[in-house]
């Protein structure tokens, strides 16, 4: 990933941040930046570095925002708050003109001339720079120009900050606007352990940078900065919104039943448009004195969600919430392209976080205008996909999980096998035996872990392979667990028996990004205590932010826990309290019972995922063995949402 920090960047130690503020304030400029207020980070005047939210972090989810402190010395770990820079470039209220009635019945009219404050915007994120570009295009890039906006833009210095953390509602990478800062800034800071790598993006920025005290940034500092931004991109993923062809897909769905469904939840409260950094609709009110002598026209933010917005004398063009929501979404993501040649969305995530009822624009877009291929990180190209071609992997270690189940650590010859995703599987073959599918139970940096139960001759042969021996692997194959659907939500992982194995890489991934998810519950059922997989790790997960609950069908030596089935662990819980996602794997009857309980507990079918097991030979949808209704389990699955499966899931004989 490329960040903007050129080799000539300056390093600003964190304790000398005030030097930058002093520089920005020269000539009477006021610095505006992120400051804590009333439980959020708001834009306010920054007098010293102490005003910045050092050590604070945000937790964001649909309809949810919380701050916590004590996360170290960093000044810019909190990403976007509810206010965008639109607050300053395009104020919520602005007197625009004065009309006077003169004594002899005459009238005079005068616009209010722009009088922009001299500001420095501190902490502008990449998505916000994109939003400013959109505003530049909308308000100052056409035939008619908002003079006040243009004056405010010209009067401001823009100090960008690259994101080294992403909020769970952020999706700039999907919209192609961040997290790397590329243009539109005067200065850009990237925060690293001891301070900031600072570079310039404009002649004005060059002049400031030349006067900023501090050593040149070292290669290591620059690498750390770009590494941190790259990690942010990787953690965020770039597939929250499938932008390819989105305009046409959306405009094709003006009659989607989903509009009515989202209108059932939508409050038409206009919060999404108020926090959106590109929404620019306004209305003008006239404030008159009692005699109507002096009349000041004042422009204020308005919203297409408000009843009066599309009203004319004869009625309202959009009387219903569904029509207003459709207007907003299609304008932002479709007709904006027609008008301004760009998307109206920059992926800042504010409309998701600050929707009072947690409507997630990413989810609505996926539901209304799904991409041709399902949303989800595009699986890597398999190391070897063609039937009959296998990569050779070396067995390094065998770990006995239970009497009949072993976890194999294998080093594949082709590292592409290590780029698989949780929930994907490989076809395993040994000379002389038929190939069989096994889900990866962990991706290591050099090794692939497969957990195999000796159920027949082929699996027994694999388990009998000596250390240092070789097996054939083909994959990774199939559709992975859609982890992005769990961002910002509570997560339920339900496993039965060996079904825990395909879920372990999912748990690894959840833990790697722990603060991007809500609560995580692992409910694990096994036949007996001796049949539990990964016993040591169960305890470890419980101390790393996962609630682990266990149950066995039959008790055994040393077992003091619950006896019963997995559903017993779940049926008293209320999953409707917060948006939740469930991932379920185990025997099919266990999955049917478990998913029923999860659905009853309030998780919608679109957010309950199962991994199906079928006879597979090719693993790439060519042999027909695993067909179920319209699906080939191997390539369309093995992971499905209940909504995708519909009544196929519970039906026998399909």
């Amino acid at each position: 990933m490329v960040t903007s920090a050129p080799p000539g960047a300056t390093f600003l130690p964190r304790e000398r941040f005030d030097a930058l503020l002093d520089l920005l304030r020269e000539g009477g400029r006021t610095v505006i930046g992120p400051m804590l207020r009333d439980g959020a980070v708001m834009l306010d005047e920054i007098a010293t570095a102490a005003d910045l939210p050092a050590g604070w972090r945000d937790e964001q989810a649909p309809g949810h925002y919380r701050l916590s402190d004590g996360h170290g010395p960093r000044l810019f770990d909190v990403v976007n708050g509810p206010q965008s820079w639109k607050q300053l470039t395009f104020p919520p209220r602005l007197p625009v003109a004065t009309a006077r009635r003169e004594e002899a019945g005459g009238a005079s009219f005068a616009p209010v001339p722009p009088d922009p404050p001299r500001l420095a915007f501190l902490g502008v994120r990449a998505c916000e720079l994109a939003a400013l570009r959109v505003q530049d295009r909308v308000l100052a890039g056409g035939t008619y120009v908002d003079e006040d906006y243009r004056a405010r833009r010209e009067a401001a210095i823009v100090v960008a900050v690259e994101c080294t953390r992403a909020g769970a509602t952020c999706f700039c990478a999907s919209m192609g606007t961040g997290p790397e800062v590329r243009s539109g800034h005067d200065l850009v800071l990237t925060e690293v352990d001891d301070g900031f790598v600072v570079s310039a993006g404009s002649p004005a920025g060059d002049r400031l940078l030349a006067r900023l005290p501090g050593p040149r940034a070292t290669a290591a500092q620059i690498a750390a900065a770009s590494g941190a931004v790259a990690a942010t991109r990787a953690a965020m993923g770039d597939d929250a919104v499938a932008t390819e062809g989105l305009r046409d897909r959306l405009m094709d769905k003006l009659d989607s039943p989903r509009w009515a469904e989202v209108a059932d939840r939508c409050l038409a409260c206009a919060n999404c448009t108020m926090v959106c950094p590109t929404c620019f609709c306004t209305s003008t009110n006239v404030h008159s004195d009692l005699d109507g002598t002096v009349n000041v026209a004042e422009r204020e933010w308005d919203s297409c969600f408000n009843v009066g917005f599309a009203k004319v004398a004869g009625g309202n063009f959009r009387p219903n919430r569904s029509e207003r929501y459709r207007q907003w979404l299609t304008h932002k993501f479709a007709t904006w392209y027609d008008q301004f040649g760009t998307s109206g969305c920059v992926g800042c995530g504010r409309c998701v976080t600050w929707c009072p009822v947690g409507i997630d624009v990413r989810e609505e877009l996926a539901a209304i205008a799904p991409p041709a291929i399902p949303v989800g990180r595009t699986p890597p190209r398999p190391a070897a996909a063609t039937t009959g071609r296998f990569d050779v992997a070396t067995l390094r270690e065998v770990h006995a999980e239970t009497d009949d189940t072993r976890t194999l650590r294998l080093t594949p010859g082709d590292p592409a096998l290590l780029g698989g995703l949780p929930g994907q599987f490989v076809m395993v073959e040994q000379p002389g035996f038929p190939a069989f599918p096994i889900s990866a139970s962990r991706y290591g940096s050099e090794d692939l872990f497969l957990t195999v139960r000796g159920a027949g001759p082929a699996t027994a042969a694999v388990l009998a392979t000596p250390i240092g021996g070789e097996v054939g692997l083909r994959g990774p194959l199939g559709r992975p667990w859609p982890i992005d659907r769990a961002l910002g939500r509570d997560v339920v992982v339900a496993a039965g028996g060996i079904g825990l194995a395909p879920l372990r890489p999912l748990i690894d991934a959840l833990l790697a990004d722990r603060d991007r998810f809500g609560s995580i519950l692992l409910a694990y059922g096994a036949r007996t205590p001796a049949d539990q997989l990964f016993r040591d790790e169960l305890a470890s997960w419980a101390t790393h932010g996962i609630e682990v609950v266990q149950i066995v069908d039959r008790s055994g030596p040393g077992w003091s826990g619950r006896v019963g089935v997995v559903t017993n662990l779940l049926d008293q819980r209320d999953f409707a309290r917060r948006p939740s996602v469930a991932f379920v794997c185990g025997p099919e009857r266990m999955m049917q019972a478990t998913t029923r309980v999860l659905r009853d507990g309030g998780i919608p079918a679109e957010r309950v995922f199962v991994s199906l097991e079928r006879h597979m030979e090719c693993g790439i949808g060519l042999c027909g063995h695993c067909q179920m209704g319209p699906f080939f389990i191997c390539k369309d699955g093995p992971v499905f949402s209940l909504a995708e499966l519909g009544d196929l899931f519970a039906r026998e004989g399909i």
């Binding site: 207020r37 009333d38 439980g39 959020a40 708001m42 834009l43 309809g63 949810h64 925002y65 919380r66 509810p82 206010q83 607050q87 919520p92 209220r93 059932d264 939840r265 939508c266 409050l267 038409a268 409260c269 206009a270 919060n271 108020m274 926090v275 009110n285 006239v286 008159s288 004195d289 009692l290 005699d291 109507g292 204020e300 933010w301 308005d302 919203s303 408000n306 009843v307 009066g308 009387p319 219903n320 919430r321 976080t353 600050w354 929707c355 009072p356 009822v357 947690g358 409707a576 309290r577 917060r578």
Partner: protein
């Protein structure tokens, strides 16, 4: 305009706290100018001048809650060119309208030792349920700026600019932090009409709907979201406030009142049973 005679204005009250008409007297900077431009022919709270009409404009505070008020509002309507209701009582029934779901004689008996001597209707209802209303100012109490806008518009002959949008619009314009999203406080702002200046979120508490439901208020969706962490009774009670009798809040209010009814018991005067 100056040549015309000043409009004859009346200010009267039904069942109410007087706070809305006090808002007129609280326009301290404009009061004298208002007095010069409007002929306040009837405003018992402020002047001993009296007039039984006709009025060019009549501002009516309070809800209809006695037989006498019911008669009176019909008479007043007939004597008024424009009738404007002011405040939550007149426009939505007010807090006293919550009795509309219970047994009024029983309520009367719980407050008065000799209930038969008290004249009261079984319900307290908004003025518009009885007579045609030309305009309304909402709020508990009304907002002084909206009142001034109404008076100005009346004088200039234009339509008053009164927003019909959520409290949230104003809350965001004023740069306030959403107490629902950031602090999980129950807030009715998203379903409530603005006009107060998003007061409560600015004072770190949830909106309690003084201005009543906004257009197309999606009460059910907000209630279900707030209800994720709260009992249904607690959610219903949020709506059973000063505009709880407004149609969009009525169902929740009705349930809340039913849940709050104490078990029947023998009563001492004033409902004090201990």
């Amino acid at each position: 305009m100056a040549a015309q005679r000043p409009p004859r204005v009346g200010v009267v009250k039904l069942a109410s706290c007087d706070g809305c008409q006090l808002t007129i007297l609280d326009l301290e900077d404009e009061l004298i100018a208002i007095g010069q431009r409007f002929d306040l022919v009837e405003f018992p709270e402020a002047t001993s001048r009296r007039s039984s009409g006709p009025y060019d404009v009549l501002l009516v505070e309070g809800s209809v809650s006695t037989p006498e008020q019911l008669e009176r509002i019909v008479e007043l309507r007939a004597r008024s060119k424009l009738l404007v209701t002011i405040g939550a009582c007149a426009t939505a029934g007010g807090i006293q309208a919550l009795r509309n779901w219970s047994s009024e004689p029983e309520w009367r008996a719980s407050v008065y030792p000799r209930p038969e001597e008290v004249e009261s209707l079984a319900t307290a209802t908004p003025v518009a349920e009885h007579v045609t209303v030309d305009a309304e100012l909402r709020g508990c109490p009304i907002d002084g700026r909206q009142l001034l806008e109404l008076l100005t518009a009346l004088r200039l002959g234009r339509r008053p600019q009164l927003p019909d949008e959520a409290v949230c619009d104003e809350c965001k314009r004023l740069g306030r932090v959403c107490v629902l999203v950031a602090s999980d406080m129950p807030c009715l702002g998203p379903v409530t009409a603005t006009g107060c200046g998003a007061l409560c979120p600015g004072y770190a508490r949830g909106c309690y709907a003084c201005f009543g439901p906004k257009d197309a208020a999606n009460t059910a969706s907000l209630a279900s979201w707030i209800g994720k962490d709260r009992s249904p009774a607690a959610v219903d009670r949020l709506f059973a406030g000063f505009t709880g009798y407004a149609p969009a809040f009525r169902e929740q209010s009705r349930r809340a009142i039913a849940a709050m009814q104490p078990a029947p018991r023998r009563r001492h005067p004033k409902g004090e049973a201990s």
